[in-house]
């Protein structure tokens, strides 16, 4: 579904991505793991056009994404839950969800989807008219995911959804990801929590300083000695 080949990104003077290639097959969960600064977020930002790649190709369902505006890319069916949730704090929960569907014109279907998000996250319905800034971290994460789903994406990208959440909430989030995936959503996930991510994912890529160091199925990577040592903290 998503093919990235030899992607290079420069940030100011920094060579952030040094030729990354990866594939996200339809219906699967793919995860990128790696240390801070390995280039995980940059990869996602490049996919949705928030940073311009220097060279390389990003192809989504046969269409080239490099050089397209973010708006266009989102309309093609990609969406991202950004790191740190980034809900709009001075908009209500409901408004946040509506904004998620900003590109869509089918008002009835939008109402339907809001209902669906509310079934997925009943808490959001309770807080419908509350300002998003007043929600707890977990609720904000739910809102961010719900908001992303509102664009009816075919590929959902998530940047560190478990960041800053209590362990019990982290489990919830991972369950939700599983559920969304079971409904047929393709997911590209970045996680610090490498173990949980690899257990969840069909495929995983290990990024190190802007390049892919290892790739394989989630299981294979979990079994890999180096991954166990460096990312799972086992000796």
């Amino acid at each position: 579904m998503l093919e990235i080949k030899d992607l290079h990104v420069h940030y100011g003077g920094i060579h952030a991505l040094k030729g990354i290639s990866l594939t996200v097959p339809e219906g699967k969960i793919v995860t990128l793991i790696g240390a801070n600064g390995a280039g995980k977020s940059t990869t996602l930002r490049a996919i949705c056009g928030l940073v311009k790649p220097t060279s390389g190709s990003i192809v989504f369902c046969g269409e080239n994404l490099v050089g397209e505006k973010t708006t266009t890319i989102i309309k093609k069916g990609i969406t991202m839950v950004p790191e740190g949730r980034r809900v709009f704090p001075d908009l209500t929960v409901h408004e946040n969800l509506i904004l998620g569907a900003y590109a869509r014109q089918d008002h009835q279907a939008i109402e339907e989807d809001i209902k669906q998000v509310n079934t997925l996250f009943p808490r959001l319905l309770e807080r419908r008219d509350q300002l998003a800034g007043t929600l707890s971290g977990g609720e904000q994460q739910m809102l961010a995911v719900g908001r992303a789903l509102m664009s009816r994406p075919r590929l959902l990208m998530m940047d560190e959804p478990s960041l800053g959440l209590a362990p019990v909430l982290v489990q919830d989030i991972f369950q939700i990801i599983r559920r969304i995936n079971n409904d047929g959503m393709t997911i590209l996930l970045i996680e610090q929590n490498a173990k949980a991510a690899l257990e969840l994912a069909d495929y995983g890529y290990v990024l190190e300083t802007g390049s892919v160091a290892l790739a394989g199925t989630g299981k294979d990577l979990l079994a890999d000695d180096r991954v166990r040592k460096v990312y799972l903290g086992e000796s």
Partner: protein
């Protein structure tokens, strides 16, 4: 000072204050969305006033039509300024955009000098606005209550726009977080253009009312109101529409009452705004209604 006199001053203050408020709203919207002190905003007042002036003088337009044409053209100019002088600098340091805005402001003022000439011109004031009403013993020209009325009406429309429409929601989103707004498939450039459209049309209406209130127009007429209204926006809390209104009133009423109570300080009237600004920045940098705005990195 008699009560009547005081009421008269107060009415003038409210009238001037609501005019400041109207112009300050444009500043605060633009600042809220791209963190730019749009120096050229004040000069749009002048542009609108001159377009109306020449519309009436050269094309013999009836004044309501001339006013509408002035608002439309000024709005176009405002949007063009953003497109040409600010948008290419979207990723540049904020100070670079500020320099560009200063450049645009000077360009408008000096183009005004070149095209319209430096001598003040008499702005046409329709008899209705000049007509004087007596409320009790207080003599009030129609314009004095008309300006606050227009401000309130526009404010209501603006609030509806911001809080009840799709584009308004998008504007609030863009003001808060540019990248995340982009992720919502919001065309940020379009939203910013729209913001300039709204801001510039408010400036144009403000300029026309300024012309009615002070019917001597000249190419530099926008500079001082521009600065003062930016100050009003800061005093109220920049980026906050309600704050701009409060700031406008504080400044307008303050100025008038200062001169009324201390006539010997009349010469310092223009300094009042700047002193207020500096006090605000020192004591309450977020303004009266403002919340803490994080510096964008």
């Amino acid at each position: 000072m008699t009560a009547t006199e005081f009421l008269q001053h107060l009415a003038n203050g409210v009238s001037l204050g609501s005019l400041y408020a109207l112009i300050a709203i444009g500043y605060t919207m633009v600042y809220g969305i791209i963190r730019l002190v749009n120096f050229a905003h004040g000069d749009l007042l002048m542009v609108a006033a001159y377009i109306a002036f020449y519309g009436i003088l050269l094309f013999s337009l009836p004044w309501p039509l001339a006013f509408i044409v002035a608002v439309v053209l000024t709005t176009l100019i405002g949007v063009t300024i953003e497109r040409v002088a600010y948008r290419p600098l979207r990723d540049a340091p904020r100070i670079t955009v500020l320099i560009s805005a200063i450049g645009v402001s000077f360009l408008l003022e000096n183009l005004g000098l070149v095209v319209f000439g430096g001598r003040s011109k008499a702005f046409y004031v329709p008899p209705f606005f000049a007509a004087i009403n007596h409320i009790g013993e207080t003599a009030v020209p129609n314009l004095v209550w008309f300006i606050p009325l227009v401000t309130v009406a526009l404010l209501l429309i603006l609030m509806h726009l911001l809080y009840r429409t799709r584009i308004g929601m998008a504007m609030r989103a863009v003001a808060r977080d540019l990248d995340t707004a982009r992720l919502m498939a919001i065309d940020v450039d379009q939203v910013i253009s729209f913001t300039f459209m709204v801001g510039s049309s408010l400036a144009a209406i403000g300029g026309l009312m300024w012309g009615l209130k002070f019917p001597q127009i000249n190419p530099l007429m926008g500079a001082m109101p521009g600065l003062k209204c930016f100050i009003a926006a800061v005093v109220g809390g920049i980026g906050n529409i309600g704050g701009a209104v409060v700031g406008g009133f504080v400044l307008g009423v303050g100025e008038i009452l200062l001169v009324a109570f201390f006539p010997e300080l009349a010469g310092y009237r223009d300094a009042f705004a700047f002193i207020l600004l500096i006090l605000t920045l020192l004591i309450r940098p977020t303004g009266l209604l403002g919340e803490r705005v994080a510096e964008k990195v």
